[in-house]
């Protein structure tokens, strides 16, 4: 009888934190639903750009859109977007957002810029979550000198202003994308390490973990089976929010010239070019920023929605 | 009969939740007379605390008082009337929120909260908190209020009150904090104190001390008390009259001796049977079968019928209001149709199975495990 009850409770608990349950609760929230749709669209764009750029040498872009890296048959540079230009007639919608300083279509470049944003943010956030979670869990679970050493190290990483850290890192290793990814991962690690550690510290005191220890379950198994799954909710929330933060950091880095190098488009780099044309073509500065804002906001809304769903204590 | 100090009639407080409306307090009535200690008893979720909050208008959104009348010394504090479109609204005789705050809260009706660890503001010294309430409610200048505060702390047996005045709540034990909360209530010299399970969070020994302290103070000041508790031992100890609540409604209301010796409601009976007493072995305790249903979807008819050993078919149909079923001169109300005062032909109704028969004996009264 007792065992049976326990099992049903377990199932019930699992179904309550389970992905499908989460999703269905999340989808009841209109803003969260919109943010999910937005993220899906942006990710789809990024995937399209990624495949086309990496494997098809921009053939898709050239066939159906414009080549994002080259001028297209002598298009006028800094063509204003639809509505601002006086040229009505044929081809008014040819370049809906206008063209950049080399006559390249801005909309297409934004599309291909989404790839850089999503790619770096995704890779660096993932590395941050995996490494940070491991460090934090080990640190919090074992405590003692391991905790001291790891946490001091995390604190140091945390204390260097992140932009400065990544810039120094990229100055040392190079300005290529891969180093931007590693650099941004490094600054994501402390955030997850601290989060997980504090979760673990509270979970470690829970009766069921003590029971598992008393029953002789191996530490590694306790960590993997009990401690980490129970810190799941805050990690999911933080991961989502961190995606947004990392996109902002990557944009800032590109703006400063650390990140995707021309002619590969990225949103931050487009802004740094636009910055030199603020007087003749102010609208050029608007689009990439808007793209960043919408993407980051979608992740932030989703993170807030997840927090409300996963953690009823933090109702808004 | 004299005008009661506090009179609550047909009070209704409900909470709008995503799952539906929760009628946490569903039409309860009770009186408190001068100098009297009245018990409000029931399991967790019976609506005791909500009732107390409602009297003080401390119900927070999404909760709302939707009906009933509350009078204090004959003056209407709260009443409702029919609006032009048939909706129920607060009548103009009700005290405005501002008047209620200025004249009633603290001055006439003070309160002692349940959790001494959570009820004191952690960033202010206990002295400054106590002093502030005294300044507001007795309109004393700061200097005098401070003296009163220290004097009151002494009265509730806090050692060296002059020194402890400037200490922060985290420097006090739970029992000491509860004494501070009591000091806050009595220092404002109210005529009525609503005590919401003030000893539940404390050790049994400390609880005893606090109960003695309260009895002494009551003798000294003649303050009336409403004492919310789930603990019948406490009720027997300090209450003059008792109101037993079940799922937002009153089950039984009687003089404390009548309640224990001449129980009229099966729920009260069950509560008494489930409490350990020195004259009974644990085996002879009878748990109340089943658990209290949620107020969001109360059972039809009498709300206790699914757990009631005396339930009959008619209990599913009729939701009885408490009526006087006394055999003597003193009033003794019970909301159970088995009494003759309810003319619903209980005698000839078929007995029905209660929840306990299905679930066996592993479910007990859930209260007290906090």
């Amino acid at each position: 009888m007792a065992a049976e009850t326990e099992e049903t409770e377990d199932q019930e608990y699992e179904s309550r934190v389970g992905a499908s349950y989460m999703l269905s609760r999340l989808l009841q929230d209109t803003t969260a639903r919109i943010s999910l749709i937005l993220i899906a669209i942006i990710s789809g764009m990024a995937l399209f750009a990624f495949v086309d750029a990496e494997f098809l040498d921009y053939r898709l872009a050239e066939t159906y859109l414009y080549h994002p890296l080259r001028n297209n048959a002598g298009t006028r540079p800094l063509l204003p977007p639809v509505g601002l230009s006086n040229q009505f007639g044929d081809g008014v919608l040819a370049h809906p957002l206008g063209t950049d300083t080399r006559g390249r279509d801005i909309a297409v470049r934004l599309l291909y810029g989404s790839r850089i944003a999503i790619q770096i943010a995704l890779v660096s956030t993932t590395i941050g979550v995996v490494v940070g979670t491991t460090v934090g869990a080990v640190s919090g679970y074992y405590g003692g000198w391991i905790d001291d050493v790891l946490m001091r190290f995390v604190e140091i990483l945390y204390s260097i202003p992140f932009l400065v850290l990544v810039i120094a890192f990229m100055a040392a290793f190079g300005r290529e994308l891969i180093y931007a990814m590693i650099g941004v991962s490094i600054i994501s690690i402390p955030i997850f390490a601290r989060l997980i550690r504090s979760e673990v510290l509270s979970i470690r005191e829970e009766t069921y973990v003590e029971a598992a220890q008393a029953a002789g379950v191996k530490d590694r198994n306790i960590l993997l089976r009990h401690v980490i799954p129970n810190s799941f909710a805050p990690v999911v929330v933080q991961t989502t929010l961190q995606m947004g933060t990392n996109i902002l950091i990557v944009a800032g880095l590109s703006f400063l010239g650390f990140g995707a190098q021309p002619p590969t488009p990225s949103w931050g780099q487009m802004l740094s070019i636009a910055r030199n044309y603020m007087l003749p073509a102010p609208w050029f500065s608007v689009w990439p920023g808007l793209a960043i804002l919408i993407t980051v906001m979608a992740f932030n809304i989703l993170g807030d929605g997840l927090r409300d769903t996963l953690d009823p204590r933090l109702e808004n | 009969m004299t005008t009661p100090l506090l009179s609550v009639e047909n009070l209704q407080t409900q909470f709008e939740t995503a799952e539906g409306t929760v009628r946490a307090v569903d039409g309860i009535s009770f009186d408190v007379h001068e100098g009297e200690t009245v018990g409000l008893v029931g399991e967790s979720g019976a609506g005791k605390s909500v009732a107390i909050s409602s009297v003080l208008r401390l119900v927070e959104s999404p909760g709302e008082i939707v009906g009933g009348e509350i009078r204090f010394r004959g003056e209407t504090l709260l009443s409702f009337e029919e609006g032009p479109n048939g909706e129920r609204r607060q009548s103009p005789e009700s005290l405005s929120n501002k008047e209620f705050r200025q004249r009633i809260r603290g001055r006439e009706i003070a309160t002692i909260f349940q959790d001494p660890m959570e009820s004191l503001n952690p960033v202010f010294t206990i002295g400054s908190q106590l002093q502030e309430f005294i300044e507001i409610n007795r309109e004393l200048p700061p200097k005098d209020a401070r003296d009163v505060a220290i004097e009151t702390l002494r009265e509730v047996d806090i050692p060296k009150p002059e020194d402890r005045f400037d200490d922060y709540p985290h420097e006090f034990s739970g029992g000491m904090r509860q004494r501070v909360l009591i000091a806050m209530a009595i220092a404002c010299q109210p005529s009525l104190i609503l005590a919401d399970e003030p000893t539940t969070a404390l050790d049994v020994t400390v609880e005893g001390q606090i109960l003695n302290l309260v009895s002494d103070l009551q003798e000294e000041y003649g303050t009336s008390f409403v004492w919310v508790t789930h603990d019948l031992a406490v009720v027997a100890d300090i209450c003059d009259r008792v109101n037993v609540m079940y799922l937002g409604q009153m089950a039984e209301q009687a003089d404390v001796h009548d309640l224990f010796d001449n129980t009229k409601h099966p729920y009260t009976e069950a509560l008494l049977q489930s409490v350990p007493r020195p004259d009974k072995t644990v085996e002879s305790l009878t748990p109340i079968e089943g658990v209290m249903p949620e107020a969001i979807n109360p059972p039809s008819g009498c709300r206790f019928h699914p757990r009631c050993p005396d339930a009959r078919a008619v209990c599913r149909e009729v939701n009885p209001e408490p009526r006087n079923v006394s055999d003597t001169d003193t009033r003794h109300n019970a909301a159970c149709v088995k009494h003759d005062a309810f003319d619903v032909d209980y005698e000839h109704s078929t007995p029905i199975q209660s929840e306990g028969d299905e679930f066996g004996e592993d479910l007990q009264v859930t209260e007290g495990s906090r």
Binding site: R152, F153, E155, I156, L157, Y158, S159, I160, P161, F162, L163, V164, I167, A168, A171, A172, F173, G244, L248, A251, G252, F255, L256, L271, A274, M278, L279, P282, G289, I292, L293, V296, M297, N300, I301, D304, L314 | L56, L58, E60, R105, G106, A110, T111, F113, Q114, D115, E118, S119, L120, N121, P122, V123, F124, E132, F133, I136, N137, Y168, M184
Partner: protein, 332 residues
């Protein structure tokens, strides 16, 4: 007394952090391609010349020896010479530091003075239009890149309306003769304020939004506490409850967030200074990296670390001041 002890304890804890920052930066710099000497002497220098110079400046010594030497010199206030500027690093940093500090101070002042009232009003009028409005504003605020805000501000107020200067920052103590069109100290101060407005908004918006979000949720949490209800039950006015009883408690998570926002604010300063061409620490470090000015990179990173440590210390002390429980926990 206990506050002093707490301060000292926190300062001591900062030492390993600073050592960590310097050693990480030192390692990174040594991983850079080329040597400082090559940069200094230019691409045409002969190998013998480079070797001689390396010998002379001690670059041929092992890295740990150089690190210890650097730390010892740094303790004596010597951070080396900037190759690019040809002056001691400390001179350059002390010239730029006040600019960045002024920018940071003004943007935090802006952020807090807007965010705290906004968050409180939002919490008090939960789910009313003013709450929805402020939540949308803070959501946009935390999602917008600060350099983009800077660009938009320049386009609108600098170029189109031409009401605010979009280049540089006039320091309040600049000699009057060096400030264009200024004939008195007051003129200079007016210029300072005018030149601060846009960078402050650009840099402060993120902080403002982050703080108002936390202020709102923190205030909501505190307003639901038992001790707030107790104060209500004893007849305390709602306005007094917000201002006195809830305010101090509600600021605790806010102070924590401000501490965490510090790194992002320092990073934001780099971008904001770039956008507005402000010669502060942020532009200095970018410049140092671009010119591979090793001593300058080390020095600026170290100072960013020190700024962070001091900032965290200030937030910790504020926390300890607000919450009487802290000092005791810290003394165990």
């Amino acid at each position: 007394m206990s506050h002093l002890r707490y301060t000292i304890k926190r300062l001591l804890q900062a030492i390993p952090v600073l050592i960590g920052i310097t050693s990480i930066t030192f390692l990174l710099i040594n991983a850079m391609p080329g040597s400082p000497v090559e940069v200094m002497l230019g691409p045409t220098a002969s190998e013998e010349l480079i070797a001689a110079a390396e010998e002379r400046y001690g670059f041929n010594q092992p890295i740990h020896v150089r690190y210890v030497k650097y730390i010892l010199a740094a303790l004596g206030g010597d951070l080396g010479r900037s190759i690019h500027y040809g002056v001691p690093v400390t001179t350059k940093i002390l010239e730029r530091l006040p600019v960045t500090l002024l920018l940071l101070a003004s943007s935090f002042a802006f952020a807090l003075s807007v965010a705290i009232p906004l968050g409180i009003v939002s919490a008090r009028r939960r789910n009313q239009p003013v709450d929805h409005g402020s939540r949308v504003v803070s959501l946009i605020g935390v999602s917008t890149p600060n350099f983009w805000i800077g660009l938009l501000l320049i386009i609108v107020f600098g170029y189109h309306l031409q009401v605010l200067p979009s280049n540089g920052l006039v320091m309040p103590l600049t000699p009057i003769s060096e400030v264009e069109g200024a004939t008195s100290r007051l003129d200079v101060l007016v210029q300072t304020v005018r030149s601060l407005i846009m960078p402050t908004i650009a840099l402060g918006t993120l902080q403002m939004a982050a703080v108002s979000r936390i202020e709102r949720s923190s205030m909501l949490e505190v307003l639901g506490r038992d001790y707030i209800n107790l104060a209500r039950a004893f007849g305390v006015k709602e306005s007094v409850i917000t201002r006195k009883h809830a305010f101090r408690n509600a600021q605790l998570p806010v102070v924590t967030i401000i501490g965490l926002q510090l790194t992002s604010a320092l990073g934001g300063a780099v971008l904001t200074e770039t956008v507005f061409n402000i010669n502060g620490m942020g532009r200095l470090i970018i410049q140092a990296v671009r010119t591979q000015d090793y001593a300058l990179i080390m020095g600026t990173t170290l100072f960013f670390g020190v700024m962070f440590v001091i900032g965290t210390l200030l937030t910790d002390l504020t926390y300890a001041y607000l919450d009487p429980r802290v000092t005791y926990e810290g003394e165990d």
